[in-house]
Symmetry: D2
Subunit: 304 residues, 4 copies
């Protein structure tokens, strides 16, 4: 299919609509991004590439990285993982302390902040040099050794991350954090500071369209069943309190980040990354979701 | 594929495991069901049939009927429907009054009780003879004019349905119920009292595997896009607080009822109905979910 | 003490301040009251009377009546009462369905709507002619046989009382309502429709300043200990989510109603009723609270 | 009145009842207390003393100290204090993170943990040497220069205080903590570690029975109005989720601590301290409350 042509047509249609979103502004490093940035990159399982716009520009992938830490922890810890974090949609804002109290320190799923903090804790337990080892995992997955954390962003997040500190302390009080709190927070903020281009993001996630193998890495990352389960979790929990809306409109598993990125997976077909920094009220890229809705409608891509 | 053989093998494997579920007991009509009942029926989009066990015995489909009323209301009301009910997972028990207050009387989705009550209200507004017209819709859909409400069950539910009366009154206080409260409750309890066999249930839902057309009805029921959206809603909201678990393990959109029935859809492939009355703690058929997990693993059926 | 002079001085001071409250408007009968009405009546335990302004004009006492039904039910049911309703402040808005679910249908206290509905249910169980018998109790208490329900208000409340219907249905589902739901609601809406003047209201509540005896009724209404406990409940629960504020500023047990009335008790000294229809955001008479704060400061009346 | 005789009689009556409470066990320092300890000390405003049992033995006053830090902060900050903490009962367990989120980081009242943390933050801002200056305030108040923090307890609390760390981080995220988080926690854990005998505790709180002046300190601590307001806050918020029960049964303002201590104030009459380490399910001294209920009934002490 000539995806490039479809990209262009939709991008033109969207250019006539005012983007009502707002760029994330809780740290300076995110607020200063040019709000007009717009990039798309699609990689098929046959490794054909299609792109548009600012697809070669780095941006902060933020929460999208939670899928990568989850994949690594699932590989290392296996099904025991699910003793410490659930697989259910959270049904409320992404930081809900209330649910954590009700559920005795067990986060609803690994893609909300509390869940990603538990996953970070698990990785720290498994890895000798957690940050370095994780970065190696991501680089190998994407076949790209240039991928880096952004220290400036990690530091800035840490300075304002009192809500995440509250989450991790609360879970520690329930015994669901095993390592030092500062180390967990440091790993977590680094994790979320990873920068990628749309091109890199789409390639990094291709293994989830290929049932657990990456064309860029020799060994299998996850078995077929585990890979599908990651997709299932993305489908149900990937967009905070907008997961239903995204499933309803786009019909693919995916994950968003407050940097304005979205990645979506069409199993056995392709992985697609979109970037547009202005966020809607639920904290997901406004134009990114609009684009994907039109794109999956046009191409009749939907797992349903 | 020889589904029958796979049914047999899994049923044998499951027969050695103690079913720890409990039959629903809040009304006598459900509590007296033989807990050992077990039926399966699969219908492919090519209308091949595969069955096992008590697949020709009628049971109360209960909440599974909410997908049918939703489909009918979506057909009649179109996208305006979503002004009165959301598409997000509820994330808590199926009757949450709390969320209804937070969201000003708008239910999270049409498959929780509050949402199904709003859908009932919408159908009452549209239909001249709501119960009769709805029954006709279901009969036409399934190509089976013998499908009936069970008056005894509807009456019994009504006598104990104070929690549903609380929900509908609360929504009325927010202006999200337009018709008479007693009429809405009467329609709702009848809706949930529909009885079907596994065979009938699987055929009735076949239109969702066929993108909105039913082989048993001449006209299209829903357009392709709307039909996929119903599947998306089932995927995210079809199993109360176990939707994530079902997606994770089974990987198909589906819906359960407290009568012990489950229906699941493999788009463009088949519709499958399972019935086993003992429920797990989340209120879903215990053995039914176990069966579907093994079946989709064995047949590598999964939308992810 | 020359209370009359103090009344005048404070009323003059308050007349220069803009009253930012809003008259209750959820039923027409309350919304059409002249917002400028302002009445005060104080009765000492020596039966001296002091009044100012519109103190001889009838108004709807609304929730203030909940203290009277509680007193009657406490007299009839004794300490068993507390098996069905708590004595703790609610800490949230006056209709919280959430807490009722958490506490399995047991309202936090008898002065929130749910609690008053349970008290109504208890009275219906005890009384042959609930409404008539309750009215007789109030008339005897106040020594005034002219006190009446306002049928127009009761009917209007009923027509819009879906939230209260939700509460009573929810409690019925937990088994904490024994009588017919419609009868409970009818009694409750009548109860809240009682009309009194400030003079009548102050005299009716004098028994709580006299440790359970009323000068207008020969027999003791409540023993000393029970009477003090009613005061304690008013102190902690009498002003919805503003009970702390009222205790903090006024320092007397009291109860408010959305009709703009407030009654407060200075044990062994006096009972005082104030009426001013404009309510603050918490649903309590704005000027009424301001007056009482200044009055208790000026007269150094405070139980603390 | 011969309080001593009444103490003896009630103590005898209680000695025949099994104390079903449990000693606090979240830190070793509290769990090793002899559960049979029982002390009482009452000081009248005329400085007459009455005591019984282990009234000269030191124990950890824990949360009772929150009234002292509140009094100091109220003296230093005045009414501005109430911009940062409310005066309403919390209505739920003493650590509710949920309410803190709903109320944007403003604790319901200064006697729950979150509120006491904000008060600690305020004192740190005002004081040059917060811990030393606070200790001096308490020593002067009680006329007793031997009162000390217990370093062992403060350290132990800190090591397990992840929940309090969660609270303070959450409030910091809303901007309601101005100083360094570790300093606030350190001050708070020291505050709660103060040790006193019943004798000392009763004398320390005597200023609240004397409308703000202490016989042991030359200057006035709080003006009459502020002193009464502290009593009002204790009445409504002094016993976590059992404040209503305590008001209902005991009828005096008071405050409890998990060390098993309770102090109660009869304005213009006396201050009384009771100590018995076994706690009821709400976290308040079981025998202590029983004693005070019988004592206030026998002596007809009640502000209501």
């Amino acid at each position: 299919m000539n995806y490039k042509k479809i990209f262009k047509k939709i991008a033109e249609d969207l250019s006539t609509i005012k983007d009502k979103g707002e760029v994330a502004n809780y740290i300076p490093e995110l607020s200063t991004i040019d709000p007009a940035k717009f990039g798309i990159h699609l990689t098929t399982v046959h490794q054909e590439d299609y792109c548009l716009g600012d697809s070669e520009e780095k941006f902060s992938i933020q929460s999208i990285a939670k899928v990568l830490s989850l994949s690594f922890a699932y590989q290392l810890e296996g099904e025991n993982l699910w003793n410490r974090v659930g697989v259910e949609p959270s049904g409320t804002a992404f930081n809900a302390l209330f649910q954590l109290e009700t559920d005795q320190g067990i986060p609803r799923n690994p893609l909300i902040n509390s869940g990603a903090l538990v996953i970070s804790d698990i990785l720290i337990t498994h890895l000798d040099n957690p940050k370095e080892d994780f970065l190696k995992f991501v680089r190998d997955l994407s076949g790209n050794q240039s991928i880096e954390f952004c220290q400036r962003i990690a530091t800035s997040e840490k300075a304002t991350g009192h809500r995440n500190a509250a989450l991790v302390n609360l879970m520690k009080s329930y015994g669901n954090i095993k390592n030092n709190i500062d180390e967990v927070l440091d790993f977590y903020f680094n994790l979320c500071s990873i920068e990628m281009t749309c091109n890199e993001l789409s390639k990094t996630f291709l293994f989830l369209a290929e049932y657990g193998t990456s064309p860029f890495k020799k060994e299998r990352i996850l078995c077929k069943s585990k890979s599908k389960r990651i997709n299932a979790i993305m489908q149900l929990c990937g967009f905070y309190d907008e997961a239903g809306e995204f499933s309803f409109k786009v019909g693919l598993p995916g994950k968003s980040g407050v940097g304005g990125g979205i990645v979506a997976i069409y199993p056995n077909k392709y992985s697609i990354a979109v970037w547009s920094p202005k966020l809607n009220k639920k904290g997901n890229s406004n134009k990114g979701i609009q684009f994907l809705e039109l794109f999956t409608t046009e191409t009749e891509s939907s797992i349903f």
